[in-house]
Amino acid sequence: MQPTLTVAAEDGRPVAPAAPPAEAALVLRGLTVSYGESAAVFSVDATFPAGAMSAIVGPNGAGKSTLLKAALGVVPRVSGEVTVFGTPLASARDRIAYVPQRASVDWDFPTRVRDVVEMGLYREAGLFGRLSGARARRVAQCLDRVGMADFADRQIGQLSGGQQQRVFLARALAQEAELYLLDEPFAGVDAATERAIVEVLAALRSEGRSIVAVHHDLATVRDYFDHVLLLNVRRVAEGPVATAFTAETLEAAYGGRLSTSHVGEILPAGGRA
């Protein structure tokens, strides 16, 4: 790997390889998203390696979730290019799985756990493809993998926050994708769920799949991830965790706020039932 620590993001461009290595899972170039007239994400370049676990880290309002959604085409971008395994986003949809923020949906929706996981198959099954047989077994396996096999017929409103997150992960597993994009997968989940999710993600990585997660808990970045993008509207630093996730880069991303209002983020997550 090139020494890609680049506190001076744009200026570091000549150091970075001109063309991303073939093993890059997700490449963003000049990605800009604006709500109204101020940039939520500004001109971000990033290269998330294949077969690795990458984190997107930054303070509140830094545009982490927006970056992920723009990479998926869920929100429109002002400018920029997205490449997935070397091909444009549009032709790579089957290779991507997405886990949105748990709080982004209404869990009072009248549906069961099993039905939610089935949604992961809606693209491959189309409007009429059978969801019984092999696909039903796949749904059951995915639920089993996240420890939710006993909850398949439960109404989703009855789940705890951690269980909801596991269901969302199971839905993404059902997609059998090569690249997993997760938005705050550990937010508001209990410690057991966090361990379970980390295990599943690590297993995915060992199968050669790639993971990019928006992550809010600075204390666990080093334990969980290989690669990190520090974001505060613009790219602050990017590279292997060992070199890019340092006191200097954190201070550059968080500024003075790190020592005061973000103490909670450095401490291990307390967890919530």
Partner: protein
């Protein structure tokens, strides 16, 4: 235009003048009251309230006839409509609090069901001997023609009263509409303020029934605040502007209707307000579409220009078609993508400023610099010449990248 002018100048007869003034007062009260609803994102509650008045009108008529009256007494009908509107409000609150249904479903259910019940009662009224000429249909769309002096007084006095109440309650209502938790922390009884706000909405609705009609009175509560929102970012300002827009709509609309008695009053008042809304949406400088669109295009142009110039400076290819078009149009690159002399100069400046920004962020370690001044702000506007000189001095060597 002369009759209209007469009406505008309140010289088209005593009754017409009274109604016109009453409509203006009602418009101000409705605009101001509606603002609190709008800020609390509950604008359409007023629609349910308005439709829920219909069964009350019917029941009041039936009751008054049963008691030997003539059934058409305006205060009696308004009291009935207020009672059923209040029942509708309670039903909405009960459904949203007790069940899993959301407020929009509760609003729609109450609106449709109460109106349906009202239609049933109207058919009952029509079959009553006294009901043939009841004229209750006027409550649907409003009418000033044939309005009695007492009706004019009722509307003018009611409008003044609603306005006074809105004025008296403006502080707690603004606070609650804007931030319920903060208002509660400040010691306001949020639930009671809510109730007062709803009572005010109901009052405006009931007073406006005869004038604007129950289907369109809701427009006086919604359109002025939405129009006012384009002119200011301050909640207090919205209240004032909405009141002014509502008052002007009521005044002009009622005057026009007095000049042309065969036209229904309600639609004219609403269309005046809608015209003001359309102008505000398009041309208001603060949040108008024209201004916002221009700002967004400017922003997009600056983003693409900067990215294109940086790519030139680094010798990268420009891929995005818009960037290429933009730079070509500005004479910074030739159609084949090769930079012109001007383009090279601009690219060098942008690249230099990027390096300066990087150093500046290193120097000042300020999260705002990392975030907000995202590279579109000319560096000269943030730092003094001395600071830039210092930055340039440090630029001499490569930026140190002290790793762990």
């Amino acid at each position: 235009m002369s009759p209209f002018l007469d009406a505008l100048l309140l010289s088209a007869g005593y009754n017409a003048a009274l109604v016109t003034v009453g409509a203006a007062l009602l418009g101000i009260a409705a605009g101001a009251t509606g603002t609190f609803l709008f800020l609390a994102k509950r604008a359409l509650v007023s629609d349910a309230v308005a439709h829920a008045t219909l069964p009350g009108v019917g029941l009041a008529f039936i009751a008054m006839v049963a008691m030997g009256g003539d059934g058409r007494s305006l205060p009696g009908l308004l009291a009935g409509s207020a009672a059923s509107a209040w029942a509708g409000l309670l039903a909405i609150e009960w459904i949203t609090r007790r069940t899993r249904l959301k407020e929009d479903a509760a609003i729609g259910a109450v609106l449709g069901v109460f109106f349906g019940l009202g239609v049933v009662l109207l058919t009952v009224v029509q079959t009553m001997g006294a009901g043939r000429q009841a004229g209750l249909e006027e409550f649907l769309l409003g009418a000033t023609a044939g309005m009695l002096f007492a009706d004019g007084v009722t509307i003018a006095a009611g409008g003044a009263l609603a306005l006074a109440a809105a004025w008296a309650l403006r502080r707690p209502m603004t606070l609650v509409a804007f931030d319920r938790d903060y208002a509660a922390a400040r010691g306001y009884d949020v639930r009671r303020v809510d109730l007062a706000m709803m009572a005010l909405v109901m009052g405006v609705t009931v007073i406006g029934l005869k004038l604007v009609g129950l289907i369109l009175i809701v427009a006086l509560l919604i359109v002025p605040p939405v129009a006012a929102r384009f002119w200011t970012e301050r909640a207090g300002g919205v209240v004032w502007i909405a009141g002014a827009i509502g008052g002007a709509s009521g005044y002009i609309g009622a005057a026009a209707s007095a000049a042309a008695p065969d036209l229904p009053t309600g639609p004219i008042i609403v269309l005046v307000a809608a015209g003001i809304f359309a102008l505000s949406l398009l041309f208001a400088p603060a949040r108008g579409v024209a201004a916002a669109g221009a700002r967004h295009r400017r922003f997009q142009r600056r983003v693409h220009r900067r990215q294109g110039l940086l790519a030139l400076a680094h010798g990268d290819a420009i891929r995005e078609p818009y960037t290429l078009r933009l730079l070509t149009r500005e004479g910074l690159i030739r159609p084949d993508g090769v930079p012109t002399a001007a383009g090279r100069a601009q690219a060098a400046k942008v690249a230099r400023d990027e390096r300066r920004w990087a150093v500046a962020r290193e120097l000042f370690r300020d999260a705002d610099l990392a975030g907000r001044h995202a590279g579109l702000t000319p560096i000269e506007t943030i730092f003094t010449a001395d600071e830039i000189a210092e930055i340039d001095r440090r630029l001499g060597g490569p930026a140190p990248a002290g790793g762990a």
